[in-house]
Structure formats: structure tokens, C-alpha cells
């Protein structure tokens, strides 16, 4: 009878092994970070945004004394551009001739008319180009606030606005990772970039409470940080960004 009552040993060890195996699998999945890799794009995407120019206003530079002067210079040019009045096109008055015109004169007037028409067309085209340019200048000067331009720049340097460039990279990455659950979440993040272009750290200054959205923001920053160029003049860079479902803006 003793044989029939024998106990099976080894179940505890088996369950411990199973637990360890599960833990190892979970750790492996966590390490390779399976889920974000689905969204990751191996090839960097380069684009030129001609509407929201990355160069906000090279003249204005970073906050400084020169900036208002430089900014002040822009409107005068705009006014100049805007001051161009569209000249009213005078229709060629038909010369009242009492007598019946001769046939050679008739031929000459039609040639003149064609010439004048071509001139008018050119003028109208030029005016529309000028008005478009004036619009663009107006938009550019509107974006060129006190914080635009190169960090530490005086508005005279050639080059792009680093903060706007970082913003464009973040926006690009954020498009791929965006996810949210609450209505209109908003996260304010301060990004710190080292002098070598590496993401030193980022700090959530204002949380939205939406974990999904914050996770998407964090993944976007990590993704964008892979291709950050070094800041101008090899200085450490920091900038706040406000992430919203519709995009992100500089703080």
C-alpha cells in the first residue's frame, strides 16, 4: 500500500522552470522592444517645407538688441513691396477719326494693340508674383519673433534655425508614433541636446495624463534623436516643445 501512496516530486521545480522561462521570454521581448519597431522607419526622411520655412527669420537672430532692428527692417521692405500699386491698365483710346481710316493704318493699330496686350499681361504677371512674395515675406516676418533665428546668432549669419529644424524632425517622427486616448491631450517637453548632437535628456514639464499619448511623444523623441545634427557653434541646446494631436509647436 505504501507504493500506492507515493508522492510525485518535481512539480515545484517544473513550475519554477516554467516561471523562469516566461520571465526570460518577457525580458527578451522587452529588450528587443518589439512593439515600437513596427513603427520605426529605418530610412530617414528628408523634406523641405516651403510653406513653414525652417529659417524663421535669419535676420532676427536670437533674442538680442540687434533683433528688433533687424526685425524692423523687414516691414519697410514689405511696405516697399506692398506699396507697389497695381497700375490701372489704360485701354488704348481709339483715335476718333472723322475720316474713314485707310487699310495700312488699320494694320498698324492692330499690331500696336497686340503689343500693348502682351505688355499688360506681363505687368499683371509681375504684379501677382510681387503680391505672392509680399505675402510670403509677411508670413516669414510674422514667424520671426524674438526667439527665432540661430541660437546665439545676431541675425547676420547664413544658416537655418536649429530649433525649427529640431521641431521639423520631431514633427516628422511624431507623425509615425502618434496615439492618444483622451480628448485633446497636450504635453510640454523640454529637450536637451548635447554639443555633439546627441539627445542628453528630455523632461516632461507638463503632463497630459494620457499615458498612450506620452508614450507616443517619448517614442517620437527617441526616434527623432537618432538623426539630430550637432547644434550650431557646438553649444548645448535646449528647447521646449508643446505636443498636441495636431502637431507640435515650440514653447
Amino acid at each position: 500500500m505504501n507504493r500506492l501512496r507515493k508522492k510525485d516530486s518535481g512539480l515545484g521545480i517544473s513550475i519554477a522552470c516554467s516561471f523562469l522561462l516566461h520571465a526570460a521570454l518577457l525580458a527578451t521581448f522587452s529588450l528587443i522592444d518589439l512593439y515600437p519597431s513596427i513603427n520605426k522607419s529605418p530610412e530617414p526622411v528628408y523634406y523641405v517645407d516651403i510653406v513653414n520655412l525652417p529659417v524663421a527669420n535669419p535676420r532676427s537672430g536670437s533674442p538680442g538688441k540687434e533683433a528688433p532692428e533687424a526685425a524692423a527692417a523687414a516691414p519697410s521692405r514689405q511696405q516697399e513691396a506692398m506699396a507697389l500699386p497695381p497700375k490701372p491698365t489704360k485701354p488704348s483710346k481709339p483715335v476718333p477719326s472723322s475720316k474713314a481710316p485707310k487699310t495700312p493704318a488699320k494694320e498698324e493699330s492692330s499690331e500696336d494693340f497686340q503689343e500693348r496686350l502682351a505688355k499688360l499681361e506681363r505687368k499683371v504677371g509681375r504684379q501677382s508674383v510681387e503680391s505672392t512674395m509680399a505675402d510670403l515675406r509677411k508670413r516669414v516676418s510674422a514667424q520671426g519673433g524674438s526667439r527665432s533665428g540661430m541660437p546665439g546668432g545676431k541675425g547676420t549669419e547664413a544658416g537655418s534655425d536649429y530649433a525649427s529644424y529640431i521641431q521639423s524632425r520631431l514633427r516628422d517622427a511624431f507623425k509615425m508614433t502618434i496615439a492618444y486616448r483622451s480628448r485633446n491631450p497636450e504635453v510640454v517637453v523640454q529637450v536637451f541636446i548635447s554639443r555633439y548632437g546627441k539627445l542628453s535628456s528630455y523632461r516632461v514639464q507638463r503632463s497630459s495624463g494620457d499615458k498612450v499619448f506620452e508614450d507616443a511623444v517619448a517614442r517620437a523623441i527617441d526616434m527623432a534623436a537618432e538623426n539630430f545634427p550637432p547644434p550650431p557653434n557646438r553649444r548645448e541646446f535646449q528647447q521646449g516643445f508643446i505636443f498636441r494631436p495636431e502637431g507640435l509647436v515650440k514653447k
Binding site: 510525485d8 518535481g10 519554477a16 516554467s18 512593439y35 492618444y180
Partner: protein, 223 residues
């Protein structure tokens, strides 16, 4: 891990239950593999030893070598019952003889049957958990899925947007519950079917051995 962190409470509970099921069922599968393998290999060795030695008392003294063999258990039970009957025979001054008049062979057969039942119970222990896991884990996962989709639709209603960015997280957490349910259920079903087959073979071996044992006892010790 990240996806687990963002799931709701209900889906978290579902995932914890499913993970527990998975850990336990895999542990049982490991244990059963070891148990059935030992039972099979020791039974083969015992049968070889049984046919080679042929002396019951010698075999009985060596039974400890085949601790995990169900056939060795059967032999031990049969031999113990046979000894008792033979001791009664000594009292009646007929040593070494088993009388058929008192149904002594039926006693041995009953002892063998009881040992067989006991061994089947031992071998089949915990297989019901595998069956339960295999049949219920997908449903528990499905429950998590349904709950996740409900949450996703609620999210659409709250945000007022049906974009992929709003729908995708809910669907993802919903699907992870189904995936974990299937991960728990598939090995459990496979293990259950495998062990059922192996145990059936061992039961057939036990039945054959019981018959053979009774035949030998009747041939050798019967009056």
C-alpha cells in the same frame, strides 16, 4: 511591457490570469514529460528484468530500482497479496500452494486492478488543468479583447475622432489579450493530447502485465 502598462484594469487582470495559467500549464507539461518518460523507461527496464530473473522474491527485493514504473507497482501489490494468501496456506499446512477454492486468484486480480486504477489516477493527475487551460484560456482572452474594443470605441466617443491614432491603442491592447490566451491554450491542448496518448499506452501495458502476472501465478502456484 509598454503595452501592458497602458492597458486598462480589466485587461490587466485578464493578462495576469492568462499568464498564471500559462506558467502553471507549462510547469505541468514539464513535470508530465519527466513523469511519463520515467514511467515508460523504467517499465521497459522492469519488464526486461522481470523476464530475466523469473523469481518473484528476487524481483520483489529489487523493486526499489524501478520506483517510477507502474508495472513495478502492480507487481509489488500482486506479490504482497499473493504472500498473504500463501501465509494463510502455511497456516492450513499447505505451504507454497494457493487454493482456488477460496477465490484466491480473484483476490490477486482485485489487488492488481486496484493498483492499476491508482496508477492511472497518479498519471492522469493535473491533466485536467491542462484541459481547462486549453478550453478556457482563449475565451478569457476573448473577453479581454471584447473589453479592449469596448474601451476603444469609448475612446472614439470621448475624443470625437475616429483616427487610427485613437483606435489603434485600444485594438492593440484588445488583441494582446487574445494573443496571450492563445499562447496559454495552444501548448496546453497539445500537451494534454500528447499525455493522453502516452498514458493510454501505459494503461495497455499495465493490463497486459496484469493478465500475464495472473497467468504466471496460476501456473506456478495454483493447485
Amino acid at each position: 511591457m509598454g503595452i501592458f502598462a497602458v492597458t486598462g484594469l480589466v485587461v490587466k487582470v485578464v493578462l495576469v490570469i492568462l499568464c498564471s495559467f500559462s506558467v502553471l500549464s507549462l510547469g505541468i507539461i514539464f513535470f508530465k514529460f519527466w513523469q511519463v518518460y520515467r514511467a515508460k523507461s523504467q517499465s521497459e527496464r522492469f519488464l526486461e528484468f522481470f523476464w530475466k530473473v523469473k523469481r518473484f522474491d528476487s524481483i520483489n527485493s529489487q523493486l526499489d530500482r524501478f520506483n517510477d514504473s507502474p508495472l513495478a507497482v502492480l507487481f509489488g501489490e500482486g506479490y504482497a497479496e499473493m504472500k498473504k494468501i500463501m501465509e494463510k496456506g502455511v497456516e492450513k499446512e499447505a505451504p507454497g500452494i494457493i487454493s482456488t477454492e477460496l477465490g484466491a486468484f480473484d483476490n490477486i486480480a482485485r489487488a492488481l486492478r486496484r493498483a492499476t486504477t491508482s496508477e492511472i489516477t497518479r498519471l492522469e493527475r493535473m491533466l485536467t488543468f491542462l484541459a481547462t487551460t486549453g478550453s478556457t484560456a482563449p475565451f478569457i482572452g476573448l473577453f479581454g479583447t471584447v473589453w479592449g474594443i469596448m474601451t476603444a470605441f469609448k475612446g472614439i466617443g470621448e475624443t470625437g475622432s475616429a483616427s487610427l491614432a485613437v483606435v489603434a491603442p485600444g485594438i492593440a491592447e484588445a488583441l494582446i489579450a487574445t494573443a496571450v490566451g492563445l499562447v496559454a491554450a495552444i501548448p496546453a491542448v497539445m500537451g494534454y493530447n500528447h499525455f493522453q496518448h502516452k498514458i493510454k499506452v501505459l494503461i495497455a501495458d499495465m493490463d497486459s502485465f496484469s493478465t500475464e502476472y495472473l497467468n504466471i501465478v496460476q501456473r506456478t502456484f495454483g493447485k
